[in-house]
């Protein structure tokens, strides 16, 4: 019984100390006036210099471009029951708009959205919507095609490496577009795929990069969240394509070009529409022409020659003008079956549920 008493004492002491501290600090409720509180929930650290970094740049843009807005962010929130609590805590802190940026938040966010019909929930990359929950994402495949062109142009072994997290349609679509872009300038090119089974796991990403390089890949690309693969590429003296942010500064001797997301203007639109009560739940999917919500960075001038830059930029202009689409037929799958007829494109619904690799991808999509 002695130890029991001791633990109770320990508990009581702890509470007393906490309570003492609590009374010492008056809690300030800083919800002043008509400020709209907007919260962002990230899966990785804002310093990942990839996906989460890009989302947080958007948040900063929002904070500096709208006056009556107060933004907060929460990082490193796993795709488990813990994220549901975080959404709930953010609602209780008075946030009126909550952006959840990772795919696996979907069901938990939908649960919380049901309980708080007056709060707007925006889920990045998912597909579930409700009256107060919308989704948003970028037409990542447009930039992928363009960066794929650069990879195809500068490979010497004709083997490209792709580090992929999960076999979701988003990832498959990006690998396909990347491959099609590379093949458009170099028909012999092959793309090897390695799966890391995580959005954000830098050590595994590095190992994956090395295994691809050992298998003769000399340009690496990725759909995971950090630049660690590019550093691995640079140390092995092969090339890399950045993802989500301009990764040139992390591997200046390797990175040819990066795709990047510019979420800022879109976030501003969402918040404005909520403020003037015109917001409606929808599935937003913006492309290069929509305020460059997705785009490519400037080229690495030491590695990419000027004429080729112009070729890629012309393709980019064609995408903006609607003259070209990365999945424009004819497109063949891995078994050489014609999937998209000459003169046709994939519909949005098909793009959002794509589960096949194009010809030239070496690897299989993990399926049950």
């Amino acid at each position: 019984m002695k130890s029991m008493k001791r633990t109770i004492l320990f508990a009581v002491c702890a509470e007393l100390v906490f309570a003492g501290v609590l009374t010492g600090c008056g809690r300030d409720s800083s919800s002043s006036g008509n400020e709209t509180k907007v919260a962002f929930v990230y899966i990785g650290p804002v310093g990942d210099y990839g996906y989460t970094y890009a989302q947080d740049q958007g948040r900063k843009y929002l904070q500096s471009h709208l006056k009556n807005v107060k933004t907060t962010f929460v990082e490193n929130i796993p795709e488990t029951a813990d994220c549901e609590r975080t959404f709930e805590q953010l609602v209780q802190k008075g946030n009126k708009i909550i952006f959840g940026t990772s795919y696996g938040y979907m069901d938990y966010m939908a649960d919380v959205a049901k309980r708080y019909p007056n709060v707007v929930f925006m889920h990045g990359s998912g597909y579930k919507t409700s009256k107060n929950m919308g989704t948003y994402f970028d037409r990542d495949y447009q930039a992928r095609y363009l960066t794929g062109m650069a990879a195809g142009k500068y490979t010497k072994t004709n083997v490209l490496g792709f580090i992929a997290p999960f076999g979701t349609p988003e990832v498959v679509r990006n690998i396909d577009a990347f491959t099609l872009g590379a093949q458009s300038v170099n028909p012999n090119v092959k793309v090897n795929v390695v799966w890391t089974n995580s959005w954000d796991d830098p050590p595994t990403e590095k190992t994956a990069a090395n295994s691809l390089i050992d298998a003769r890949a000399d340009v690496l690309a990725t759909h995971v969240d950090s630049p660690s693969f590019a550093q691995a590429a640079q140390s092995k003296k092969v090339l890399a394509i950045g993802h989500n942010a301009d990764m040139q500064k992390y591997a200046p001797k390797s990175v040819l070009v990066s795709d990047l997301s510019n979420w800022g203007p879109y976030f501003v639109n969402v918040v404005k529409s909520v403020q003037d009560h015109t917001w409606k739940s929808s599935q937003y999917w913006g492309g290069i022409k929509d305020n460059n919500v997705i785009d490519i960075s400037s080229f690495n001038s030491k590695l990419v020659d000027k004429d080729f830059q112009n070729v890629v930029m012309q393709k980019r202009q064609d995408i903006i003008d609607g003259k070209f689409d990365p999945f424009q037929g004819p497109v063949y799958d891995q078994s050489n079956k014609l999937k998209v007829q000459q003169g046709q494109n994939l519909t949005d619904a098909q793009l959002l549920s794509i589960d096949w690799f194009v010809k030239g991808v070496q690897g299989t999509i993990p399926k049950s």
Binding site: R85, Q89, G167, D355
Partner: protein, 359 residues
């Protein structure tokens, strides 16, 4: 033999600390922990008062905070109760994490294969499956321990990785939800396979299990012959065998029960909170459970209390982030408090004395 510390100062073991001394030492330890963290927070330009206030407010300052603390506490308490049974016999089972995953596996197996059974049959079935799977995961290292005295600390730890990988294999492969966009999750459990929640909270009725297990274990360990046997076996195998106790059987039984309780924790998590199986169902419950069991001095009732405190720290820690503090601050904070409380334990059991100068 007193331990020499510095100059004339020696550490001397004391038999039993007085309650007053325990209070004072615990208080000072917590204050030092808070002070230490406060200094770090000040150096990084934060207001410690605001942060501490927020943790208390978030964990026990509102009905929602209370409910979330209890949600977080359930798996912690069950795993800690599980490991404490083994620790009583000085069997260092640090495999609660793996036993938790195997319990979740057993429960999910039933949930996915018999989703339409009546709730009154399905939930007990999941319970028994979790109990057996977790128990077997505890039993596997028990056999080499009992027969050849193979170190169970290492074997239980290594089995964790196997269990975690096994669950990952299932959710990436055979058990992946066919309509889930190829993301590694199982299909959601049917209502019959879900432990209902209390009111509008996320607390499932599984929390009753915590109370039941705590009381039953308390009585068993303290007042039964078996409880006495495992205490004696833990102190000395020779003495136990001399007294006619079956030492080998006790190892097997104790590790089975230890694993079974952690396995049940796995079931309550997938069936009561997540309603599906996924890759990372535990943020390290099985490891935190070891700290809880030791802080609670292996007393089942104390363990429940400590679990509640740890649950509150976790919930408060997540809440800190919503105020814009980086996630690492909250884990640093939890670590510092634990460090000081554990260090303070030293002074409960030892006394600093000055060697008498001999004339």
């Amino acid at each position: 033999m007193p331990l020499k510390i510095f100059g004339d100062w020696r550490l001397k073991k004391v038999e039993q600390a007085s309650p007053l001394k325990t209070v004072v030492i615990t208080l000072i330890s917590i204050c030092l922990g808070l002070l230490f963290s406060a200094l770090l927070l000040l150096f990084t330009g934060n207001d410690p008062g605001e942060i501490y206030g927020d943790i208390v407010f978030a964990s026990v300052g509102s009905a929602y905070g209370w409910s979330e603390t209890l949600v977080e506490m359930t798996p912690l308490a069950l795993c800690a109760l599980g490991v404490s049974v083994a620790f009583r016999m000085k069997l260092w089972n640090i495999g609660a994490e793996g036993q938790f995953y195997m319990g979740a596996f057993g429960a999910t197996f039933c949930a996915l294969h018999f989703p339409n059974l009546s709730q009154w049959i399905l939930l007990p079935l999941m319970f028994v499956a979790a109990l057996i799977c977790g128990g077997i995961w505890g039993l596997i290292p028990a056999i080499p321990k009992a027969l050849w005295n193979v170190n169970e600390t290492i074997s239980t730890l290594l089995l964790n990785y196997i269990a975690i990988s096994w669950v990952a294999y299932l959710v990436f492969g055979p058990w992946k939800d066919p309509s889930g966009n190829n993301f590694p999750l199982t299909a959601a459990f049917s209502n019959n396979a879900s432990i209902p929640s209390i009111g509008g909270t996320r607390i499932s009725y599984a929390i009753i299990l915590v109370a039941v297990f705590a009381v039953v274990l308390f009585l068993l360990l303290r007042h039964s012959k078996w409880g006495y046997e495992i205490r004696v076996s833990g102190s000395s195998r020779k003495a136990a065998e001399y007294a006619g106790m079956n030492y080998v059987r006790n190892i097997l039984v104790v590790l089975f029960i230890s694993g079974a309780i952690s396995g049940i924790a796995g079931m309550t998590e997938v069936s009561g909170v997540l309603h599906k199986l996924q890759q990372s169902i535990s943020p390290g419950y099985g490891y935190t459970a070891i700290i809880i069991a030791l802080l609670g001095r292996l007393n089942p009732l104390s363990i429940v209390l400590v679990s509640f405190l740890m649950g509150g720290l976790v919930v408060g820690g997540y809440d800190l982030q919503t105020l814009g503090f980086p996630s690492s601050i909250s884990s640093m904070f939890q670590g510092a408090i634990l460090f000081f409380v554990l260090a303070g334990e030293l002074f409960c059991n030892y006394r600093l004395v000055r060697k008498e100068v001999q004339a």
